[in-house]
Subunit: 519 residues, 2 copies
């Protein structure tokens, strides 16, 4: 017997629309699947209908339908939770320590990753908010919203009701933040102290909302984890006509029958989209599935400039050492000879191999030279650019890099998502991240930084070295590792050299690259 | 830090087709998503292809596609896990304490519930095999297989290759058992001591395999939990022509184009089936989705007689007190007045109410009279009939009834699936079943009975009263509750009276019934 919940005295909360009944786990109150909005397909979300009586809020709600099914693998590195897919997916989950309206605890709102096309609020085991709420005494909210063509398909030229269709997924997030603003006091949260945070696509959702006027005032801070893509990740503002025309044609609808797209089963819509979009994508046309710069959304800050309101949002931002180099390597670094390693480095980086190796060892004296082969640049470089531009615009921004090596495959560098369990205080849920003598300490350091940041806008706490904000010319990077240190512009030379060696490496082609050098 | 796995030294096992790499959790070796067969749609499963190198076996495999999506609710009572759906779903998961070929531990193979149409090997959190393997020192296997029209759609009259289509899902289970017989020694299991067990539809899969010649010798014992439906649950042996004709018509295929059913996307096939089947079902026609008695499958024992080989399989069989009365009651039994309760009983049972109340209190002196309103009969009565017939045929059978009341909704009687965490030693994973001072003891009693039964064919152990086999005329029922007792034909009178009061109550209409008396 580990713990017992009181199931006969379940917490009931009055929301604006009606009462909901959650449950309690230890000292944490939990509410799941709360509907924050409803929406017709491609249309702007509206407030949910009111109800009488008490709705159950102990089960996770629907997650957005997706265009493709995942292939189950890599569960040791990133354990997943899948859930039931349905278009009525505007719902959120809450973990809190108090139901006192006066508690006014900081609110952390998690936007999940998976680009803008996949994932869910519960896709990864590490997204569970119970520990974060408990150890941080904060209110944690995780959000589901419309994804892929349901959330990001520009139909605006086909009617006023589709005005927001290009960014409907973002509109859902805004609706969630409005719901939070109106209701979170009842859950012990402070509606004036909301931090939005997310990883990968979730980070892009954070930066995206900063550039949407409609979201102003709905959050006060942001954390962007491995969430700044390079320009190969297209936020296309091109005309959507070619895509919609092809879609209608594939479905045997006329140009006048766009409304039929609202009613056909999602599976059919997805099938048609999957058939027509690759060709258009190859031609550089608009294919949806990412936010589209328009009247509602200015475009990403580093590209088009940050909105003045955006620069008022303090940010924590960073990435991890290895990111998309997730597949098993063809060798183990503790077994390979120096000669063989240098050959592999040469194979990859050509004439630049030796110089890169030297600089890598200067920049990362504690790392194995083999780690050069899994060094991420496609997140790190755009992140650095983001930091520079945001600081230049007067924004307050804290930079980090997560460089922990894991005892997996003889010492794997930190992969995409491997930092999430630390941020959520959930390394106990993801065993591979739970390294004896190491993880507990680092988890506390990272977690406390996040909580302090959510409370005050400053991540500094006594458990880490002094972490200054970054300026336009001086990036002050907190290195999260077995020993945490702050370093200044520490990898500029390395990244510049890397770019010379592999000028064409982008987020868009990293996966193929990855397949070439590893298996 | 709770536990650390050794991820740098992962266990690799040689199976007949190739090597697989699992992982270790504490002392338990875990292998997930092992493909035991492959099959073309509607066709007999074949051995998987061989491979070189090492396949990862640390991620759960695909689960069968389903006709309808679930609606998320009731997670406190039955917490779920969903997974990725794909027709290539013939895979299994293994938990074991030893990789010594000489260990020869008993093997327990779990067939999941959800009728023959839904669910998966990991659908419920309680299906996790780690604790069962650890606390019982046994090898646990859980199995995915084809469901609904993929597993049970009779196309046999359309070609020899479809000969097994009516029971393809069962053929998958047989293929899994063959794989186990050939490979389980490598996982420390005894291929000559295999117990198949399942709940609800999973129990029906156990009894079904007993009636299939092809499964003879592949298992030695069986456990059927809440898995004997009454005759309203149709295993139709009617001609499938009306269904297939309607299906072809709906899809605009001719009678000659049955093969096209093999190639269209499942979503399309499911949509057509969902459209045409309700009318045929209402007319009493064959609609698939359950095993069909034919040359391969004799039909259920209580209906058509047990095969001689079936009667050689020792069985444990039972059900739970409340089964499908799962919804919240409109009153709390600790708050309702005697008068109001008698009125409700009268509303439900008419003139029989008073006599039923008296008999109920004689039979269940420890229970609240209000529990009469949630007493299951639609599983209990057919289970009693099964026991009688099996004993009469010379079979060795142990009867149980799980009557635990849970501290939920002011004392909820045991619902369908509430016993599973006890059998798997997983009450710690399902908090509502984890009652202080109660669950640990009962869990050990039930779990040890299951393990002893798997080891020896006899569930008796020192922690429970002597549990005799049942005979044709004397059902010896182990009552699993706060105090375990053995009772003889203890509820015959009650059930007879109940049947007089509600002669038309069946499994098929219990849900409507349920909706009438509760909400």
């Amino acid at each position: 017997m580990t713990k017992q919940f009181n199931y006969d005295d379940l917490p009931v909360i009055q929301t604006k629309q009606g009462k909901i009944r959650g449950y309690q786990s230890g000292g944490t109150y939990i509410f799941k699947g709360i509907v924050y909005a409803r929406a017709k397909r491609f249309q702007k979300p509206e407030e949910p209908e009111c109800w009488d009586g008490i709705k159950e809020a102990a089960s996770y709600g629907y997650v957005s339908p997706m265009l493709q099914e995942d292939v189950p693998n890599g569960e040791l590195m990133v354990p997943h939770r899948y859930w039931i897919q349905n278009e009525n997916c505007q719902n959120l989950n809450i973990w809190t320590q108090s139901l006192d309206k006066m508690a006014m605890r900081p609110v952390l709102v998690w936007f999940h990753g998976g680009g803008f096309s996949m994932g869910s609020s519960i896709e990864q085991k590490a997204y569970n908010g119970e520990n974060m709420s408990k150890y941080g005494d904060v209110v944690v909210v995780t959000v589901n919203h419309r994804l892929n063509i349901l959330g990001y398909l520009d139909l605006s030229q086909y009617g006023e009701k589709y005005a927001d269709s290009a960014n409907a997924g973002q509109e859902d997030l805004i609706a969630a933040l409005k719901w939070i603003k109106e209701n979170i006091k009842e859950f012990g949260g402070n509606p004036q102290n909301v931090t939005i945070f997310g990883q990968s696509g979730g980070g892009m959702k954070v930066s995206g909302l900063m550039q949407m006027k409609e979201a102003d005032g709905l959050f006060q801070k942001g954390i962007i984890m491995s969430g700044v893509p390079d320009k190969s990740y297209k936020y296309s503002d091109k005309d959507s006509t070619p895509l919609i025309t092809a879609l209608l044609e594939e479905l045997n609808f006329t140009e006048d029958e766009v409304e039929k797209l609202e009613d056909i089963p999602y599976a059919q819509l997805a099938q048609a989209y999957n058939k027509v979009s690759p060709k258009l994508e190859a031609e550089g046309e608009y294919v949806g599935c990412t936010p589209k710069p328009n009247d509602f959304y200015k475009g990403e800050g580093p590209d088009v400039g940050f909105r003045k309101e955006a620069t008022k949002i303090p940010l924590m931002i960073g990435s991890v050492f290895g990111e998309f180099y997730m597949k098993p390597q063809t060798f183990f670094k503790d077994e390979i000879s120096k000669e063989e390693l240098m050959k592999r480095i040469g194979d990859r980086f050509g004439d630049w191999g030796e110089e890169l190796s030297d600089v890598f060892q200067e920049v990362y004296p504690e790392k194995n030279l083999a780690d050069l082969l899994t060094l991420d640049t496609v997140f790190r470089c755009p992140t650095k650019k983001f930091i520079k531009e945001f600081a230049k615009s007067g924004g307050k921004i804290y930079s980090y890099l997560f460089t922990l090596e894991f005892p997996y495959q003889h010492g794997k560098t930190a992969w995409h998502c491997s930092d999430i369990p630390f941020v959520f205080h959930n390394t106990e849920l993801v065993p591979v991240t739970n390294i004896p003598e190491i993880s507990d300490k680092l988890e506390k350091q990272m977690f406390d930084a996040v909580i302090h940041f959510a409370e005050t806008g400053d991540p500094n706490h006594l458990g880490i070295p002094q972490w200054p904000v970054s300026t336009e010319d001086r990036e002050a990077t907190m290195i999260f590792d077995r020993v945490c240190t702050v370093r200044f512009n520490f990898d500029d030379s390395l990244l510049e050299l890397y770019k010379k060696a592999l000028p064409n490496l982008t987020l868009a082609n990293i996966t193929q690259e990855d397949n070439q050098i590893q298996h």
